[in-house]
């Protein structure tokens, strides 16, 4: 019993004050690398490595301004979809229908009577139609998910199938050539020597970044993904917000459809096939949590650029699509592993 005699530490031997929140320089580094900046830094390094590989293997064919603009132009359509996708994934949802909604929007906007009506008014009518189709599909998704309580995966899977079918019906599985002159002219043109496709991507990225990080809309999105029930109980209209999010991603698919029409000068039901997977991959590689609660537009943009640079390097070296797919798969897995390693979520450390 003797070794269990009570021992009372005297008051003076004890720490005299509560620990202040410590901020040591060593930890500042740790914080930086663990934080958003650190994650993005990792992506930037990955992108830089890819560029180095491109420069070594393809030399001047790769390292020129024209080619870099190509890479971004190639990234722009998937990029716009990925920005919309970042929002739904941050809120803990998913939208599998973006690719086929994009196809549907491209078909509807290039229907002959729509083009004819655009000839009478303005080419912007085609744009409005595409955005409306995307928004409407998103609205349906959102209502089914928020009010019908169908899980997003299933609801948008149904939309994926349905929208593609509808696009085939409307187009008779034919490719619809865009002949509307205003539309064609706009997309042939550029601004400051840079193609409009690239500008649209840049503008979407800036708006998305601002919306997610700086506005009440973004705060609600993150909160819903972080804890749906707590957000609901705090008095936020979570259902309405969910609908808004799916409309947003739908509209982004509509914008992508317009860009696709501009680039290919044709609308078809096969536009956007499997784009949902590319978009989800870019978002997740960029550092947005698939379970929701954390999202980053900068990361998404870097993710998209990584994939399109990769494609470019492979094409420059005449490597097959299949090899490319294998490498893409590896990148996705590695990125997710790294995320878990370096950005372990707070409260669940060690």
């Amino acid at each position: 019993m003797s070794e269990q005699t009570p021992t009372t530490v005297s008051e003076s031997a004890a720490p005299t004050q509560a620990a202040p929140p410590e901020k040591k320089s060593g930890n500042a580094m740790q914080r930086l690398l663990g934080g958003a900046a650190g994650r993005n830094l990792g992506l930037v390094i990955a992108l830089a490595l890819l560029i180095v590989v491109g420069a070594i293997t393809a030399g001047d064919r790769f390292m020129n301004v024209e080619n870099f603009l190509n890479i971004i132009r190639f990234a722009s359509i998937i990029g716009v979809i990925s920005i919309g996708m970042t929002f739904v994934i941050t809120a803990g949802g998913i939208d599998l229908s973006v690719g086929s909604v994009m196809g549907l929007a491209s078909v509807v906007a290039s229907l002959s009577w729509v083009q004819a009506a655009a000839d009478q008014t303005s080419w912007l009518l085609m744009v409005a139609v595409a955005l409306a189709v995307g928004g409407a599909a998103g609205l349906v998704n959102g209502i089914v998910i928020a009010y019908g309580k169908v899980v997003p995966f299933m609801a948008t899977l149904a939309m994926l199938v349905g929208a593609r079918g509808l696009a085939e019906l409307l187009s008779n599985k034919q490719t619809q050539i865009v002949s509307q002159q205003g539309f064609l002219e706009f997309f042939r043109g550029d601004f400051l020597g840079i193609a409009w496709l690239v500008w649209i991507f840049v503008i979407a990225a800036v708006i998305g970044w601002f919306l997610l990080g700086r506005t009440t809309f973004g705060r609600r999105t993150v909160a819903i993904g972080g804890n749906f029930e707590a957000t609901r109980l705090a008095g936020i209209r979570v259902k309405r917000h969910l609908v808004a999010l799916y409309v947003l991603v739908g509209v982004s698919a509509g914008i992508a459809a317009v860009m696709m029409l501009g680039r290919t000068t044709a609308g078809t039901s096969t536009h956007g096939t499997l784009y949902e997977l590319d978009a989800i991959a870019a978002v997740v590689v960029g550092g947005t949590l698939l379970v929701g609660g954390r999202g980053t537009i900068v990361g998404t943009v870097l993710g998209v650029l990584i994939f399109s640079t990769l494609t470019n390097v492979f094409t420059q070296n005449n490597l097959s699509n299949s090899v490319q797919s294998v490498v893409k798969g590896v990148i996705i897995v590695v990125a997710v592993l790294l995320q878990q390693r370096f950005a372990s979520r707070p409260g669940r450390s060690s």
């Binding site: 019993m1 070794e3 269990q4 005699t5 009570p6 021992t7 009372t8 530490v9 008051e11 004890a14 720490p15 004050q17 509560a18 620990a19 202040p20 929140p21 410590e22 901020k23 040591k24 930890n27 740790q30 914080r31 663990g34 700086r214 506005t215 009440t216 809309f217 973004g218 705060r219 993150v222 909160a223 972080g226 804890n227 029930e229 707590a230 957000t231 609901r232 109980l233 705090a234 008095g235 936020i236 209209r237 609660g293 954390r294 979520r345 707070p346 409260g347 669940r348 450390s349 060690s350």
Partner: protein, 506 residues
């Protein structure tokens, strides 16, 4: 004092330290546990109690120090190692899986199986026995855990700890969600276990429980042990409080003020029912009044609050605030009408654990600080800092993720949310759950201050003395009905329990 005569050291932790990215949670803690004792660990919110036991449970790795188990130095690299060693843990934050049944939860990780095939019948049988031992034979082993109340989830977590053949069972604030009856049950089981030579590490902020059940006490303050192995019998409560807080805390309820006769009715609840849960609940709360709901766990108190708040849709009856009737089942309307709810389960219903403190504090009113759609995080941080000051929330850093705070400090975030929002009606479900003695006194004072400023307050608490001390008027709830309504000064704990027993028997 020790039950049994086996006083050989079972566990000895020496100079344990733990650092989380920049926070020293533990700076040198010693803990000695002998077989068959109930060893209480005391300390204020954030003192490091949970961190210490998580190290013992293999959930955290210590930054320094040594652990001896039955005299042998051991490393505990992961939770499985702890369980294999003979340490079972009931964590403070409920850690059951909602989608699984009770039996599946209890045997999660050590399923009864041969060659991968589960013995479901045997698991169900054992589960039933465990539940019976805990006085809950009425729960079906096949019930999905997500449908259980917080208290019943705690029972499941307890049954799981019992299902391991443990030499040491750690209970981190097990009584926080339990009512008086359940706590009695818990103590009966604890006595049974200790008489078999099993040691218990018991953490609680309710000092009277320590008196009842504890053998020895270790006090932790700011991550360092202040005293280890104090005998419960020889240490007076004020001394314990002084060791924990470093000061003398007056532990009394703030004085009530006479309600002015013309104080208007703010919250009016009329014939509110939720099918199968409660029926025909009517009462009103005047400006400046604190109404307490007393009753057993499962009597429907939390559900009443949630229905008033619109988080559940009433099957009949209505709720009015300042004479305006609320639409049933619309939380957002309730909030705009000036009702706030601090829910029972702060982790699943209250907080966004990965988000910083300030975003949690302003979750219901960040739009108010915004300019149009533009967030103003600087102002959000500023108002959060004010609340951190007022509530002595630790750590005092608005940017710390809520999930890294100790349980009691998380509770303070919930209160801060409605303080910055400013409400006419405040519904508090277990407002001091997991809150330490010092902060508890502050929260009581705060509730009274809010009432004096004209807020109508409804408090649900499983601690009857708390309801009686805090409320102006007490409603005794049993079986989803209001059994009795009386001024708090005209009833005592026995009175409440009698009513409850009679009401539920009837």
């Amino acid at each position: 004092m020790l039950k049994g005569d086996n006083t050989a050291s079972l566990l000895s932790m020496r100079g344990i330290t733990k650092e989380f990215a920049g926070v020293k949670a533990l700076r040198g803690v010693d803990l000695d546990v002998v077989a068959g004792e109930v060893h209480c660990v005391l300390g204020q919110n954030g003192a490091g109690k949970s961190t210490l036991i998580k190290i013992l449970a293999g959930a955290h790795q210590p930054s320094g120090g040594e652990i001896f188990w039955q005299g042998e130095q051991r490393e505990i690299p992961n939770p499985v190692a702890a369980i294999d060693m003979g340490v079972a843990t009931m964590y403070q934050e409920l850690d059951v899986v909602d989608g699984l049944t009770i039996a599946e939860n209890i045997f999660l990780g050590h399923e009864l199986a041969t060659g991968g095939v589960l013995h479901r019948a045997r698991a169900a049988r054992t589960t039933r026995q465990l539940l019976e031992r805990l006085g809950h034979g009425n729960l079906s082993p096949h019930r999905e855990v997500g449908t259980l109340s917080a208290a019943n989830k705690q029972i499941v977590s307890m049954a799981r700890a019992l299902s391991h053949d443990a030499k040491l069972i750690i209970m981190d604030e097990p009584s926080a969600v339990l009512d008086a009856e359940e706590v009695k049950n818990l103590f009966r089981v604890v006595n049974e276990l200790t008489s078999q030579g099993i040691a218990i590490i018991y953490i609680s902020h309710r000092l009277e429980e320590i008196r009842q059940i504890g053998d020895r006490i270790t006090v932790i303050k700011d991550g360092a042990s202040m005293a280890s192995g104090l005998s419960v019998a020889d240490t007076p409560t004020p001394e314990l409080i002084r060791l924990m807080t470093g000061r003398n805390v007056e532990f009394v309820f703030p004085p009530r003020r006479e309600l002015p006769a013309d104080a208007p009715v703010v919250l009016d609840i009329d014939g509110l029912s939720l099918r199968g849960i409660f029926a025909d609940v009517s009462f009103d709360v005047r400006a400046g009044e604190v109404v307490g709901l007393a009753g057993l766990v499962g009597s429907g108190r939390s559900e009443i609050l949630e229905t008033v708040y619109g988080a559940r849709r009433a099957s009949s009856g209505h709720v009015s605030v300042d004479g305006k009737r609320l639409r049933p089942g619309a939380v957002d309307r309730a909030v705009t009408s000036g009702i706030g709810l601090s829910p029972e389960e702060r982790k699943s219903q209250g907080l966004i654990l990965d988000e910083p403190i300030f975003k949690n504090v302003t979750l219901s009113n960040f739009a108010r600080y915004a300019r149009g759609p533009l967030l103003n995080e600087r102002r959000e941080r500023a108002v959060t800092r004010e609340q951190i000051e007022a509530l002595e929330l630790r750590p005092a850093d608005p940017d710390r993720p809520a999930g890294t705070l100790s349980g009691g400090n998380q509770q303070k975030i919930m209160l801060a949310r409605w303080l910055v929002h400013g409400t006419r009606v405040l519904l508090l479900d277990e407002p001091t759950r997991g809150v330490d003695v010092g902060a508890r006194a502050e929260i009581y004072a705060l509730i009274r201050r809010l009432a004096d400023a004209g807020t109508a307050i409804v408090v649900v608490s499983s601690e009857i003395p708390e309801v009686l001390g805090l409320a102006d008027r007490v409603l005794v709830i049993g079986d989803g009905r209001v059994l009795h309504s009386t001024p708090a000064t005209e009833i005592d704990e026995h009175g409440v329990l009698d009513l409850v027993m009679k009401g539920t028997a009837a």
